[in-house]
Symmetry: C2
Subunit: 237 residues, 2 copies
Amino acid sequence: MKKLYGIGVGPGDPDLLTIKGKKIMNTVDVLLCPVKKEGDISYAYEIIESHLENKEVEIKEVVYPMHYNQKSLEEYWKENGEMITELINSGKSCAFITLGDPTLYSTFMYTLPFVNVAECDIEIIPGITSFSAVASELNQALTKWDESLKIMPVQRQTKEELVKRLEKEDNIILMKPSRNSKPIVEALKSLGLEKNFKMITKVGRETSVIVSDIDVLENQEVPYLSTMLIKKGGFRD
Amino acid sequence: MKKLYGIGVGPGDPDLLTIKGKKIMNTVDVLLCPVKKEGDISYAYEIIESHLENKEVEIKEVVYPMHYNQKSLEEYWKENGEMITELINSGKSCAFITLGDPTLYSTFMYTLPFVNVAECDIEIIPGITSFSAVASELNQALTKWDESLKIMPVQRQTKEELVKRLEKEDNIILMKPSRNSKPIVEALKSLGLEKNFKMITKVGRETSVIVSDIDVLENQEVPYLSTMLIKKGGFRD
């Protein structure tokens, strides 16, 4: 049976890869590694590199530029989908590695509809999400008892839109706050939640940074690979 | 330094344990395994048993009964917290294993405030969540593009309360639907979402069951260890 895997490599710490993910990436013919542009280093690949013991596995870049124009991105999904289709049809098993978990906002799931192979078994291996890692790093529960958690991507929302969405939630994860950090600061202030957020950039890496001061947040360019946790009930000591 | 770990063992497939979780559980003195009552088999322990290679590790039950009376449960958190405190003060490193991820509704986080050890380093190792595993098993994205995801525990909500909460969300995960399944069925029908849900019981185990037929859902006792995904936009083929 032809085989395509989507493997979540987790948020950054190489040892947060699952045992299953490690096993599979060492048995496939081709490991597909997303990069922002040709020749770039793949962050997902950097994470799992130390666990790649089978030197026969072919490493192949798949290019996904870092912008949010859906129409233009679709061209890349299509192109990469066709490339993966060809690889699989030539008899090669493939594993596509993706940061965090493949089922949450991953390019793998965007590309999948363009993979057009007859009788191909597709298997997704879940990964540790950035928000579980953020909460773990902070020694904080994401949710307790009857609380809920809302996971929300930051897009071009205005302060007012954010206020409306944030005010009703117990706990919120903002994914990719780097896209639009100014309205986030304004919304937090407007809701009196200046002390109720923590943001981690590159969680699980040596270069990780925690920000919990609203002034610091306000006066910096929020880096890519940041995740913000907002807790209405506050953080425990 | 005295050390207490909380390790997420994932939802059921032993190989969805992280490499980090496996390493740590093989180096501690005591592995704390939650059970519903004394002498029971710990489901979390069953999941990781095949990865426990160090036979020196002491396995210790921690009892948490399966009901939702917070006052009575607090007695158990306190008692278990004191037991863990004693173990750590006697010089033993401990790892508490927990189903799924420790930061989401876990007894470990409820117990932590009752662990009272001077200068103890507490480290949480995130685990694969049941909902990532459910979406992976179904080959479905939990979220795409600008969609959000709401994670919500099922409590004693009425149909009306559920309708009010479900109607505004793109994607919803209902945790522990076994607690109160009748109002869920009614809410799904009332919102015209009869075909927009899938529920998996014991995801990742050989005995796992998928339910996506509203009549089946309506006419069964929903088992413990079930997770339901509701997608407003429907499921892709």
